[in-house]
Amino acid sequence: MNSPCLVVNDVYFTYPSNGVPEKRILSQASFLLSGGEVISIIGENGGGKSTLLNLVAGFIQPNQGEIVVDLKKVSMVFQDIGLLEWKNAFANVELALLSSNYSEQKRKALVEDNLKLLGVLDAKYKLPKELSGGMKQRVAIARALVSNPKVLLLDEPFSALDWKTKRALQKELLKIIKKKKIGVVLVTHDLNEAAFFSDIVFLLEKSKLKKFNLKKKN
C-alpha cells in the first residue's frame, strides 16, 4: 500500500456557539487516505460532511486532533461550483496555476490538456453563464486537477446533474483519479453514488464516522 497522502487523526470539531448550545459536529474522526483511493463520506444534510472537507482543506481548524496533509497539494471541487463569472473556462482553469512558477506557454498547455481530458476544450472561450451545469462542473474539475493535486476533495459535485451526465462524468473522473493516483474524499448523501465511486464508505452519524461495508456495483 502507498504511504498516505492524508491523515485525519482523532479530530474533534464544534462550531463557535454565539450563545446557542454547542453542537459537536465531529468527534474522534480518523481515517487514512492513499493515492488512487476514494473515500466517501455519506450522511444527512447538515450532519457535518462538508465541515470535514473544510477542515481537510484548511478553511477551518479542528478543536482537537490533527490533520496531516500538504495543503499546496490539495484541490477542491465545490457543490456551488465556484467558477468566476467574469472569466472564461480557460481563465478559470488557469487561475489554479497562477501561484506556480510555470511559464505562460506551459500554463496554456496544462490548461488545454486538462480541459481536453474533461471533454470541454471546445468551450474554452465560453463564460460560465454560457455553459450547461454539466460543462460547468467539468471545468471546475479541470481547475481542481490542473495543479496536479495529491488529494482531491469533492463536495457533492454531482448533485445538480442529471443521472446520465452524472454517471458519465463519474466514470471519466474515476479513470483519471486511478491513473494519476490521486486520493479522493467525496462527500455525498447519495448511497448509490458512494457505492459506485468509492473504495471505502464512511457514514457520518451523530458526529461520528462509521465504516460502511458496501459491495461495488459496477
Binding site: 482543506a57 490539495v74 477542491m76 465556484g82 468566476l84 472569466k87 501561484s99
Partner: protein, 255 residues
C-alpha cells in the same frame, strides 16, 4: 428583433420629450410672464449663448472642476473602500469616522471650504471630492463585504496570494459596485458644483445662473439648467457605455 426594440425605445424617448415640452409650453402660455419662459424662448436663448460663446467658458470651468474633483473623489473612495473592506482592523478603526462624516450633505461643507481654500477652483474640487468620495466608498465597501464565501474558498483552495486574490477575484467581483458608486457620484457632483459655484466661484454654470438671477434673466437661467441636464446625461450614459464594455459577463441595465 433588436431593431424593433431600438425603434420602440427611440419613439418612447421622443414621445417623453414631446410631452415634457408640450406641458412646459402650455404652462408658460397660461402664466404669460417673463419669469416663466417658454421652451421656444429658451431654445433660441441656447442658440444665442452658444453662437456668441458666452456660455462656453462657464461650461469649461464647471466641466474642469467636476472632472478633477470626481477623479480625486473616485480614487480616494475606491482605495479607502477596498482597504477598509478587506482589512477588518482598519475598518473597525476608521469606519465609525466615515459613518459620522457620510450623512453630512456636501453643500454643508461649502462655508468651511471657502475659509480653507478661498473662492475658486480649489474649494470646488474639495466639495466635489466630498460629494463623490462617500458614494464610491460606501458601494465598494459593501461590494467587498458581499463577496460570496464560495469565492473566498476558491481563492484559498487555489493558493492565490492576497494580491492575486484582489486582482483576480475581489476587484472584478466588486466592479459593478464601483460603477454604481461612480454613477451616483457623478449625479451628486453635478448637483453640488452648481451650489458651490453660486457661492464660491467667479465662473462656471452655477455662477452663470446666479449672475443671471441678479440680472433678472430667467431665459438664460433655464438655458443653463438645460445645459447642466444634458451634461449630466452625457456623463451618465458614458458610464453606462463603459459599464456595458467592462461588465460583458453580466447583463447591464440601461437605467
Amino acid at each position: 428583433m433588436n431593431g424593433v426594440f431600438l425603434a420602440r425605445k427611440v419613439l418612447l424617448l421622443c414621445a417623453s420629450f414631446l410631452i415634457f415640452f408640450f406641458v412646459w409650453q402650455f404652462i408658460a402660455g397660461l402664466l404669460n410672464t417673463f419669469l416663466f419662459p417658454s421652451p421656444v424662448g429658451v431654445f433660441f436663448e441656447l442658440i444665442s449663448l452658444f453662437s456668441s460663446g458666452e456660455i462656453l467658458g462657464h461650461i469649461y470651468s464647471s466641466l474642469y472642476r467636476v472632472l478633477v474633483g470626481l477623479i480625486i473623489g473616485i480614487i480616494g473612495g475606491a482605495v479607502c473602500g477596498y482597504v477598509l473592506g478587506i482589512n477588518s482592523f482598519l475598518s473597525s478603526l476608521f469606519n465609525p469616522i466615515v459613518q459620522i462624516l457620510r450623512p453630512i450633505p456636501p453643500i454643508a461643507w461649502i462655508p468651511i471650504a471657502i475659509l480653507w481654500f478661498g473662492i475658486g477652483d480649489s474649494s470646488s474640487f474639495f466639495i466635489i471630492f466630498i460629494a463623490s468620495f462617500f458614494p464610491v466608498f460606501t458601494n465598494v465597501y459593501f461590494g467587498v463585504h458581499s463577496l460570496p464565501t464560495i469565492f473566498e474558498k476558491v481563492a484559498k483552495s487555489l493558493n492565490l496570494s492576497n494580491w492575486q486574490k484582489f486582482w483576480q477575484v475581489v476587484f472584478p467581483f466588486t466592479t459593478p459596485y464601483l460603477l454604481t458608486g461612480i454613477k451616483t457620484a457623478v449625479g451628486f457632483s453635478w448637483m453640488v458644483i452648481i451650489a458651490a459655484e453660486m457661492i464660491a466661484s467667479q465662473s462656471g454654470l452655477g455662477y452663470f445662473i446666479d449672475y443671471n438671477r441678479l440680472l433678472l434673466a430667467p431665459t438664460k437661467i433655464m438655458a443653463a439648467m438645460i445645459v447642466i441636464g444634458i451634461l449630466g446625461l452625457i456623463f451618465h450614459y458614458s458610464i453606462v457605455f463603459i459599464e456595458s464594455k467592462i461588465l460583458f459577463w453580466r447583463s447591464v441595465s440601461n437605467e
